[in-house]
C-alpha cells in the first residue's frame, strides 16, 4: 500500500527467487513449448513431412488412395509419368504413421474409453489401466511395509546398518527384470510375479534411501531429546520418526515413480496384461495414436498423483515451511488471480 513499488527482478538472475506470477507463466510454458513443437511438426506442411499421402493415384499403377510413399519415390514416379505423357498422381505431404498429430491423439484418448476392443477377450483401456494400478499398489505397499521400517532401523542403529546394508547394496545392482523368469517359476503366471518384480525393483532402493534420510536427521535433536530424558524407544518414535516423516514422504513420491518404471517391465512377464499389453497390442495394429494416448495417460496419472501427494503432504505437515517450492496447483491458481503485491515478510521481535 504505502510501500514504494518494488523493482521487478531480472528474468535470468542466478539462483534468484522467481516471483510467483512469473513462475506460473513458466510452468504453463514448460507444457506449452513441447506441445507447440509437436504441433509445428504435425501441422506445418513444409516442416519435416518426409512422406506423401496419395489422394489420386491417377496413372501410377501401384499407388492407392491414402497410401503413404516417400517423397523421392512420389517425385520420380510423377517424372516418369510426365515423360510418358500420362496423368500425374496427386498427393499431400504427410508425416510417418508413428507420429500422429496432437488432435489425433486427443481423439484417440477420448475414443479409447468409448470404442470396444477388437477382440472380445481383450480388455478396455480403462480395465488395463486399473489392472496396472492395482499391481503397482500391491507391489509398492508390500515393499514399503517392509522397506520403511527396515530403512529407519538401519538409519537409527549402526548395528542394523552394518548388518543389512552391505548385502542390500549388492542386491540392488541386480536388475529386477532378470528375476522375471524366476518369479514366474515360483509364483505362477498371473499377477504375483508382476508384484514381485515391482517389489524387487523398489524394496532394496527403498531401504537404502530411507536409511540415508534417517541418518540426515539433525543429531542435535536426538541429543536435546536425551537431555530431556527420552529413552531409546522414545527417541525412535518421538524424535526420529516425526523428524524424518517429511523427507520420507518425499522419498516415497520419488520411489513411486520408479515403481511405475518397473511396472512396464513386470507386465512383459508371464501373462501379458495391463497398460503395457494395451500399448503393445495397439502398436501391433499400427494404431500409434492409441499408443501415444496410453503413454500420455501414464504421464498424466504420474503427474496428477504427484501433485495430489504434494498437496496432501502440505496438509499433513503444517510445520514444514514452504521453501520456495510452490506446488503446480497453487501456481496455476495464481495465474488466474489478479496481480497483487506479495506480503512482506514480518519479523517478530526477540
Amino acid at each position: 500500500m504505502g510501500f514504494p513499488r518494488r523493482r521487478q527482478p531480472e528474468w535470468l538472475g542466478v539462483r534468484k527467487e522467481v516471483p510467483s506470477r512469473r513462475r506460473a507463466v513458466l510452468v504453463v510454458l514448460s507444457f506449452v513449448l513441447p506441445l507447440a513443437l509437436w504441433s509445428t511438426v504435425s501441422y506445418v506442411p513444409f516442416v519435416w513431412h518426409p512422406l506423401v499421402r496419395i489422394e489420386t493415384p491417377a496413372s501410377v499403377s501401384y499407388f492407392q488412395r491414402g497410401m503413404l510413399v516417400d517423397r523421392d519415390v512420389f517425385a520420380s514416379e510423377n517424372r516418369s509419368a510426365a515423360a510418358e505423357g500420362r496423368e500425374r498422381a496427386q498427393g499431400v505431404r504427410a508425416n510417418p504413421i508413428y507420429l500422429p498429430a496432437p488432435h489425433e491423439v486427443v481423439r484417440a484418448l477420448y475414443m479409447a474409453f468409448k470404442t470396444p476392443p477388437r477382440l472380445p477377450s481383450e480388455p478396455w483401456l480403462h480395465e488395463s489401466l486399473w489392472h496396472s494400478i492395482q499391481v503397482i499398489f500391491w507391489g509398492f505397499l508390500l515393499s514399503s511395509l517392509l522397506g520403511v521400517p527396515l530403512g529407519i532401523l538401519c538409519g537409527a542403529f549402526p548395528f542394523f546398518s552394518k548388518l543389512f546394508e552391505p548385502f542390500l547394496e549388492f542386491f540392488r545392482y541386480l536388475p529386477a527384470p532378470a528375476f522375471g523368469a524366476l518369479c514366474v517359476a515360483i509364483l505362477g503366471i498371473y499377477d504375483a510375479p508382476k508384484i514381485a518384480i515391482i517389489f524387487i525393483g523398489t524394496f532394496f532402493q527403498q531401504v537404502l534411501v530411507v536409511g540415508n534420510t534417517t541418518r540426515k536427521l539433525d543429531p542435535s535433536l536426538l541429543e536435546a531429546a536425551q537431555t530431556l530424558g527420552a529413552n531409546r524407544r522414545q527417541l525412535l518414535f518421538k524424535v526420529i520418526v516425526p523428524g524424518i516423516v517429511v523427507d520420507l514422504y518425499t522419498d516415497m513420491r520419488v520411489l513411486l515413480g520408479w515403481a511405475w518404471t518397473y511396472l512396464i517391465v513386470a507386465e512383459l512377464v508371464g501373462t501379458t496384461s495391463g497398460i503395457t499389453y494395451f500399448i503393445n497390442q495397439q502398436a501391433r495394429y499400427r494404431n500409434y495414436q492409441n499408443v501415444f494416448a496410453a503413454i500420455a495417460i501414464i504421464g498424466l496419472i504420474g503427474l496428477c498423483s504427484d501433485v495430489a501427494l504434494a498437496y496432501v503432504g502440505r496438509r499433513l505437515f503444517p510445520w514444514h515451511a514452504e521453501r520456495g517450492g510452490t506446488s503446480l496447483l497453487t501456481l496455476l491458481g495464481r495465474c488466474f488471480r489478479p496481480r497483487k503485491a506479495e506480503p512482506r515478510r514480518t519479523t517478530q521481535p526477540a
Binding site: E223, L228, Q234, W319, A350
Partner: protein, 302 residues
Amino acid sequence: MFAPHLVETVPTHRDQAPAVRDRFRRLYERPVLLEVDELGREFETDDGPVVALDRIGFRAYRRELVCFIGSSGCGKSTLIRILAGLDYPTSGRVLLDGHEVNGPGRDRGMVFQGYTLFPWRTVLENVTFGLEVGGRGRRQAETEAYEWIELVGLSRFAGAYPHQLSGGMKQRVAIARALANHPRILLMDEPFGALDAQTRTQMQSYLLQIWRHVDITILFVMHDLDEAIYLADRIVVLGPNPGRVLDTVEVPVPRPRDPSQSLSPEFIATKRHLESLIHGQRPMSVDVLPKFRHRHADEDVQ
C-alpha cells in the same frame, strides 16, 4: 616506605565491595550441587591420543551462575557435553548432588547453540516433550508447560511452530523446555552465539530474570568476556592445549546487574584480568599484509 593509598588507586578484579564479599561468603555456605573431580578427556586420533581436557576440577554451589570462558580449542564444549552426559570422561568423575553422572538425564537440562527445537512440534508441544517422556499426562503436562512459556514471555506464541519464531524466541522456548523438566542444573552451550548483538543483550537480561525466579543452578559456556562478567557469579577460565583451568574468578560486580555496569572500574578490571589470562601477556599477533597497491592511498587512509 609503605603507602598503600598511593599504590592501589586502580582496583583489581580481587577488590570486592563488602556487599559482594558477603554475598560470596553466603554462596560458599550453600550446599555443593555439582562437583567435578580430576576430569580428563582424551580423543583417539590418527596421530595418536589428544588430550582435550586435563584434570579439570571445580564446584558449583546451589543457585550459582558459573560461566566457562576460553579461546577456541580449550575444550569448553566437550566439558559441558560431559556434564550433560552426551560425552564421557576418560578419567575423573562428575558428581551431581553426590551421585555420579552417567549418561544424559532429566536432572540436567541443556540449551544448545543451534536451535534444537523439534520443528514438527508447536512451542507448547516442544515444552511438554520432557514432561511427556517423563510419563506426565497430557493435560497436566500442558498446564505446566503453559506456566513456563509464560515465564519466558511467549504465551502469545504457544501454538506457533519453531520456523515462525525469531532466533531469540527459539532460544527462550529452548530454555522453557529445559526448565519444564525441573532439572537441578541448567547447562548452556553458547546459546546466544548465533544471535545479533542487540537480541543477545536482551536474552542476557531475560536469563537473569528467569534465574532470579527459578531455583536453578546455571553453568554457561561462552567466549564473550562481557557476557560472562555480566551474567556470572564466578568465571572459570579455561586454557587450550590441553584444556585446563587457568583461574576461577569471583566477579566483583555487584548484583543486581545492569548493562550500564560495563563501564564500572570493577567490570573493567575483571575484563582486563580475563583478557590477560586468555590471550596471555603477549599482544595478539596480526600478520602484516604484503604491501601491494592497486591504487594510491589517500592521506586520510594512510
